[in-house]
């Protein structure tokens, strides 16, 4: 007659804290989580198949729709993979422009992460502040390529256009303002005892385990492993630029939080350097009008805001890729979720989902 019973509960796919359409099947003992099974696929649109059906330049548009919080990073990795297939050189000015935009995108993406993560834990205001700063980055993107979310801001062989007049000054103004804003987020969260309580020792994962799961990006670096594609396999102009890769040691949510906050500062540093050294010249290399890469295959990786973005392309010599496959850091990082929240309380689930910083568009593709 007396006894405890496990409760099964369904979190999502429509739930305020699952960042889209993630569904979690939870097994609970009171408030304690015994077992979690993520169910994905609610946002599957077949981006990979579309990448095989459409020509190379057309498929870029679909990469925009994968990780819609950091569409530029997806654009970049796909375009670079095609360029490697083609063997095209990108002009130096375009390389620097790519770095500038990629780092601005990283800041914007981390601001979304910060806002949603904080809002999941109850700090409503940080969300709005983060969105306010992100808006300025979106303005910069709008000014550059005309779109605010799905940029399609790159062309094979370079950039579609040069920066418009006044863009660099506007970017500088934003970057001058930004440290003060980070300081505000710090005041609201970093030392706050409630925030510390909610994030310290929550969702802990140690370095070797994170490697075993294949985690990348800030989630891996929070566990003390300094792996960053920008340093490990430098692409574009990253080899010339000076920046640090922040690394945590405990592997808990708080360390990942501090890592990402520091990454925003480092991104700002990179953009300032790149703006300083921006070479003159062409922005678009010579590419044939019809993109027909020679037969072959390529696997190309980039450091996206959420981790290692990979594209695997097989060309059969036609205008379409024979096979197009994306390695999504979100998908890989999400796998560790059941492991990270076992034994925690329900409230920690939202903290861990927040800290993994998943975008379901990229998980399901």
């Amino acid at each position: 007659m007396f006894g405890t019973r496990e409760m099964e509960i369904n979190m999502g796919p429509q739930h305020p804290a699952t960042h889209g359409v993630l569904r979690l099947k939870l097994k609970l003992d009171g408030e304690r989580v015994l077992e979690t099974r993520p169910v994905i696929g609610y946002l599957h649109r077949g981006c990979e198949k579309l990448g095989e059906d459409r020509t190379y330049p057309q498929a870029v548009v679909y990469t925009d729709r994968m990780d819609y919080c950091a569409a530029y990073a997806e654009n970049l990795v796909y375009i670079e993979a095609v360029e490697r297939l083609l063997g095209v050189e990108v002009p130096p000015r375009a390389q620097y422009m790519r770095v500038i935009l990629a780092e601005l995108q990283r800041i914007a993406s981390h601001l979304i992460w910060l806002g949603t993560h904080a809002m999941d834990i109850g700090a409503l205001t940080v969300f709005v502040y983060g969105m306010r700063e992100r808006e300025q980055i979106l303005d910069l993107f709008e000014s550059y390529c005309g779109a605010r979310l799905t940029y399609n801001a790159l062309r094979i062989g370079g950039m579609p256009e040069d920066f418009p007049e006044g863009w660099i000054d506007e970017a500088r103004r934003f970057l001058d303002l930004f440290p003060a804003r980070i300081e505000e987020y710090n005041r609201l969260l970093t030392a706050n005892r409630i925030w510390l309580g909610r994030t310290r020792d929550v969702g802990t994962i140690d370095g070797p385990k994170a490697l075993d799961w294949g985690m990348t990006g800030p989630c891996l670096r929070g566990s003390g492993i300094a792996y960053d594609v920008r340093k490990a396999i430098p692409y574009e102009a990253y080899a010339d630029l000076d920046f640090d890769v922040p690394v945590g040691d405990r592997g808990d949510t708080y360390d990942r939080y501090l890592c990402r906050m520091e990454e925003m500062r480092q991104s700002r540093r990179i953009v300032l350097q790149a703006l300083e050294r921006l070479p003159a010249g062409e922005v678009r290399g010579k590419v044939p009008r019809r993109i027909k890469p020679p037969k072959g295959e390529v696997y190309h990786v980039n450091e996206g805001p959420r981790g290692e973005l990979g594209v695997y392309l097989v060309s059969d010599g036609s205008e379409n890729a024979y096979r197009c496959r994306f390695r999504s850091p979100n998908f890989v990082n999400l796998q560790a979720l059941p492991d990270m929240i076992r034994g925690h309380l329900i409230a920690d689930i939202v903290a861990v989902i927040g800290t993994l910083d998943i975008v379901l568009g990229c998980v399901d593709r």
Binding site: E31, A123, R198
Partner: protein
């Protein structure tokens, strides 16, 4: 007319009607204030469309809730489902029976009217008792909804409210000791006689008591950073997940009425109730204690009401301010805070107050 009837039925009935309408009016504008203050703190504008700067927004929302379809899910326990909002709302309203809205009785048509519904000599105990009834409504709502999220929310809420009753009770003990009475009117009169608010009692200011009461009050009313029972990011909407329309509005109303109640109690116990802010400052006290002298008694009553409202407003502002700033506690941390910090702090505070009282009496 029969004077007994007049004194014990008619006048109280009118007063109850007046108090309830004041409360409802304040709730409507408290909701608007909350949205506006939060918006301003977040660099936003808040409601702007309905009326000038959105002044009619809440009224529009209430109308919307009224005309919404009242959904009763299939698997609920119907009786408990219907009763829960009522059980939550009634104690919240009943508690205002002992809150003195002002200090000065006035005469209307030869009858003396006091600006409080009743002055019970165990007013504070009445408040504590009736305040702890609200949890039944929440538990009933969670249980009757027959939904797992509601259930979790209700259980959290029950544990939270029961735990925070203790520091809440402890924080008022020192006020009882200082005032020597449990009557709410008596407590304010004691502050007037002493010449200071209890929050600024000189040898040992009751700031700790104020802090304790306020924190426990926030926890009792389920507001951020203690809004676990309805943490929308975790439990969708907690105990009222399955409610909609007017029944939801009752929960909403009860939450805001409880906020106002906490504001009133803080004002009465620690901030001198209807007494002016300049209490104890010799030159300023007299002119400010009744700045509507032409109206006589009625003026004095209104002045007292003004001061009380100002204090309540400050407390409510802190509520909203905290909501805009802080993250939410986790369930176990909330319990740890309540039992390991607030209760020992409350006990220490009571003992220290007693000691100081003993010493200062000489």
């Amino acid at each position: 007319m029969n004077p007994t009837l007049l004194q014990f039925v008619l006048i109280p009935a009118v007063k109850i009607a007046v108090v309830i309408s004041i409360i409802l009016f304040v709730v409507v504008y408290l909701v608007l204030l909350e949205r506006k203050v939060n918006a301003w703190m977040q660099s936003r504008l808040g409601p702007m469309r309905v009326g000038w700067h959105g002044v009619l927004q809440t009224i529009a929302d209430v109308i919307k809730l009224f005309i919404k379809e009242d959904i009763t899910p299939t698997h609920v326990d119907r009786l408990a489902f219907f009763l829960a909002p009522v059980i939550l709302l009634l104690p919240a309203l009943a508690a205002f029976a002992v809150i003195p809205l002002s200090g000065q009785p006035f005469r209307v048509a030869g009858v003396t009217v006091t600006p409080w519904i009743s002055d019970v000599n165990v007013g504070l105990l009445f408040l504590l008792a009736i305040g702890s009834l609200g949890v039944y409504g929440i538990v009933m709502a969670g249980w009757a909804s027959n939904s797992k999220y509601s259930m979790l929310g209700a259980l959290r809420s029950a544990a939270q409210m029961v735990s925070y009753e203790v520091p809440l009770g402890l924080s008022v003990v020192s006020v009882l000791m200082l005032a020597g009475t449990a009557s709410m009117v008596g407590i304010v009169r004691a502050q007037a006689a002493a010449g200071y608010w209890f929050a600024f009692w000189l040898p040992y200011p009751q700031i700790v008591g104020l802090f304790l009461y306020f924190v426990s009050g926030v926890a009792e009313t389920n507001r951020l950073p203690f809004d676990l029972p309805e943490a929308e990011n975790e439990l969708v909407a907690g105990f009222h997940t399955e409610y909609s329309g007017m029944k939801f509005a009752f929960f909403f109303l009860a939450e805001y009425i409880n906020m106002i109640l906490v504001g009133c109690i803080v004002a009465v116990l620690f901030l001198g109730g209807w007494l002016p802010v300049t209490l104890g400052i010799p030159g300023l006290r007299e002119p400010l204690s009744n700045f509507l002298p032409l109206l006589g008694d009625v003026g004095a009553t209104l002045t007292g009401f003004f001061w009380l409202s100002a204090k309540v407003l400050v407390v409510l502002f802190v509520y909203l301010w905290m909501r805009a700033t802080f993250p939410r506690y986790r369930y176990d941390q909330l319990m740890r805070l309540g039992w390991k910090w607030l209760i020992p702090l409350g006990l220490a505070h009571v003992m220290l107050t007693g000691l100081v009282m003993l010493l200062s009496r000489g």
